[in-house]
Each structure stands twice: as C-alpha cells, then as structure tokens.
Symmetry: C2
Subunit: 292 residues, 2 copies
C-alpha cells in the first residue's frame, strides 16, 4: 500500500485568495469600491469569536472592506431582526452573515429568512437553497462550495462516480449531496446521503469513489469504511483538549487519518483541508454579491 | 417466487379525496368558502389539456372551486407575468398552477419564480424547494408528496432503509431524494440519486430496499435491477401508441412490470399507481393553501 496524496486545502485557498485580491485591485483601479462584508456576532462564544475573527482577517487580506457588529447575548429577537433589516437596506454593504449559533431565545431560522437573499453570502436562506437545487444563480453554502472548488482545482471529477456523504446537516451534508448530483461541471455524480439513522453505513461508505465525512464525530470514519483508491474529504473540525497547544485545544477530523491515508488515493488533512476552503467560499460569495 | 403486492394508488387516492371532501363540507358548514384552485393553460397541447381537465374534475369531486384560465399559444411572457401578478393578488384564489410545458418564447423559470410562494401549490418556486430541503413549512411537489403519502398509508417505512431514486428531474427525482432523506415521519432513509450519467446503475438499483423509477423510459427498469423483496415505485407515465385504446394511446411505466412483479415485495402499477397520487398531492396542497 502506498500513501495517499494529501489534498492541501490551505495552499489552494491561498491561491484563490490571491486571485480574489487581484480582482479587488482591478475593481479599485476601475474606480469601484471594494466588496464589503458585514458580520454580526452575538454574545461571547469562543468558537464563534474565532470564526468571525478569521472572516475579518480574510477580508483584510484580499482587500475587502469588513464590518464587525457585536451585540450582547441578551439582544432581543426583534432587535436582531431590525439590525438585519438595516443591513438589507444598507447600500454600502454587499453581503452579511449572522454568526451561528444564536442564543436560545432567538429563532435562528426566522433571522436567516429575514436576510435579503441577494446579501445572504452564507447561502442559508431558503430561496438560495432552492436555487441551488434547481441549478439557478444564487449563493452556495461555503463548505460545500469550498469542497467542490477543492475537487475541481485538484482535477478530481465526480462525474459518473459514486459519492457518499455521511451527515445530513443543512449547512454541509445535505447541500453537498445536492451539489454533487446536479448536472454541472462539479456535479453529475451518483450521490448517496447517509446519516445517523442509516443502516449499513460501513458497507455503503466502502463503495464510494469519493467519500465525504461530515459526522462531527472525531475518528468515526475508519479504514474499513474506505475503498482502496478512494478520495476522502474530511469536513470534521471538532475541538478536543490538547495541553500541548497554546490555545489549549487541537482540531480533530472525522476521519482516522493515519489508517485511511494508507488506503485512500487522496485525502484532506485536518486542519488545512476543508477549513481554509470554507473560509474562501465566503470570500467568493462576497465577491459575487459585490458584482451583483 | 410469489407475486408482488400491487400498491393500489387509485384506491388510496380515492380514500384521500373522500377525506378532503369531508373537510370541505366542514369548512362550508362553518360558513367558510371552499378552497379555490386556478389553473392556467397556454395553447392546445394534448397532454396538457388532459392533465388540466383532470385537475378541474378532481376539484369538482372534492367540492373545491376551480377556475380554468385559457390563453393562446402566442401570449407574450409579459402578459403571462401580468396574469400571474393578478392571481397573486386575487384574494378569492388560494392557489394556482401554470401548466407546463410553456411555449418556447416564454422563460418558464421566470414565470414560476413570479408566483407568490404562498399560492405555489405545485411547489416549484425556489423558496418552496428550499423550505422542503430545510424541513420548513411550504408546498411539496405533487408527485413526491403523493408517493410519500402512498408509502405512509401502506405502512411502508423508509426509515434507515436504502432508497434508490433513478432520475433527477426538478419535479420528481430530485425532490423525492430530498424528502426521503429528511429527518421526518416519511423520511430518514439512506438515499441514492441516480441519473443518466451514473455508472453501475444496475448494481446500485439492485441494492435498494425501496426503488423509485423516474426515468421516463418505458420498461427501462428490468428485473435484474430489483432486489428480491424490494418495494418498487413506478413514476413513469409515457404515452405509447395503442390502436386498441379509444384514445389511441396507452400509458407505460418505467418498470418491466411483469418480470419485476415476480421479484418485488410490492409494486405500483401504471396506470393506477403514482398518477392518481400526484393528482391528490395537488388537492392536498390546495387545501393547505386555503387553510393558510
């Protein structure tokens, strides 16, 4: 057995950020203002802080304008809906996100649905989800979008292949399964969507040419679930305590990396695989929103 | 080998129509007007005429009000969009459909997207498609809706089972695959969506506990594609010339009925299987629209 090629998402994301930065320079030289992303952060959740800070940093790096709007944990749903309405109406803002999760007293779906679909750069609004299903223009959720870009730029075609997606969340597994099955450049795969209720997941996973793990359970995708020569994409980014790290935690993927890397043809690492591509997905959506 | 149970969609549809008729009587007795469906028919396509006439007849049978709006083949896109706007605004109409296909000079997607999602009883508007994906309230496309009702009322649970859907159209295969995979009473299946680009369709189909054929090619689903004891749902309704019929044609399903009925546990016939359930799906949506 050989060793799997490591699909370097960090490197690919860096290349895409360079392309975006060049496009932003072109916009500015043509006298246009740069794309502008706003991010709404409620409360003080550690992981949410980290994610939003990354988003702001990414914007700076490619030359986007960004605005971080912080609100306290006890903001009312109506206050947040009013803020969303303001952002919808603000012509200086091309796209915005409301960082999830939201405090329990706020109906997250209601907030998402209040976002103007044309500014919904997270791609979570029902209209954008429907557009994705129907192959119409719209915003794709960042993680599935990033994964299709990663596959495309590594010359991995899904067309006609059997793709198995494990995990059916609204933001990763489900849209991933839909995107891969569409009649499109990155699609045309035969797609099986598995989840916690699925029987025979091991056998089904082991029949995949391309396996996408989005279970959120570290190490849950073992070598017996991987066909020899398969491509494996690991969406998992679970924080596990690690006293050796300055942050006090390490990121663990859903895939048993060491064992699977001896069996797969190619494999994304965690960190440095899907994570950076997700961040780039948001930048690509914001650029699209700015171009209108 | 035994003979498959024939899943009688005509009978089940009749039972549902009775339930709807009773609910309409209750509405009228409570002093409310009955549900009102409008259907827009453009031109003189034979199949479209038949379908729309069935819809009007179904409405009459359950006590709905219906309005058939005929427009000539050469109606402009703008005229049709104006008509859609009028129907959106008409408080006496609960839901309406624009019968497809439309003449080539009209952008069908543009027309569908112009329909108020709250009156889109075909469930084709992107917002309703997105709501279906996200498990939010909305209208489900009639054929997948009818099929899930048929399974439910025949005590066939998809939960945990492997369902294979062949065909990825926007109105049948794709929404069917989504509905069956959702975390819901009729869902929780492991779903594989196959299509014209899929490799190994025969093997994949033969692994299905529930096989849903929506290829539109008569007899294309053969016995070798069916696992012993599987449930087979035949969505095909292709018109083939038949001089022995008064109409001059017969309806043929996608499934090789005779051979498959010796292998499957249960099977829908054509006609009398999915077709009547699709018609009932529209009635259920119209009732829902009326109740608001």
């Amino acid at each position: 057995m050989g060793q799997a090629e490591i699909i370097d998402g960090k490197k690919t994301a860096g290349e895409i950020r360079k392309e975006i930065a060049e496009a932003v320079r072109d916009m500015k030289e043509a006298g246009r203002r740069p794309p502008h992303l706003a991010a709404v952060l409620i409360g003080n959740d550690g992981a949410s802080e980290t994610y939003v800070n990354f988003k702001v940093k990414d914007c700076r790096e490619v030359g986007f304008k960004s605005t971080l709007i912080r609100k306290p944990e006890n903001i009312s749903e109506q206050e947040l809906l009013n803020l969303v309405a303001d952002l919808n109406a603000d012509e200086e803002i091309d796209g915005f996100i409301v960082q999830l999760p939201l405090p329990r007293h706020i109906d997250a779906q209601r907030v998402i649905t209040a976002i103007d679909p044309r500014k919904d750069v997270d791609g979570f609004h029902p209209e954008n989800v429907g557009n994705m299903v129907l192959g119409l223009p719209g915003f794709l959720p960042a993680t599935p979008f990033g994964i299709t870009e990663l596959l495309r730029r590594h010359g991995i075609s899904a067309s006609g292949k059997h793709c198995v997606v494990i995990g059916r969340s609204n933001i990763v597994g489900t849209p991933m399964s839909i995107l891969l099955s569409r009649n499109s450049e990155v699609g045309n795969a035969t797609v099986t969507l598995c989840h916690s209720r699925s029987q025979n997941v091991v056998e089904i996973a082991a029949s995949a040419d391309i396996l996408i793990a989005a279970t959120g359970r570290p190490g849950s995708v073992t070598a017996e679930m991987v066909k020899s020569g398969a491509v494996v994409i690991d969406v998992g980014t679970t924080r596990v305590p690690d006293p050796q790290k300055k942050s006090g935690y390490a990121l663990r993927g859903d895939v048993d990396f060491k064992a699977v890397s001896r069996k797969a043809r190619a494999l994304t690492p965690v960190p440095g695989g899907v994570g950076p591509m997700t961040r780039v997905g948001l930048l690509l959506n914001t650029m699209k929103a700015a171009k209108g």
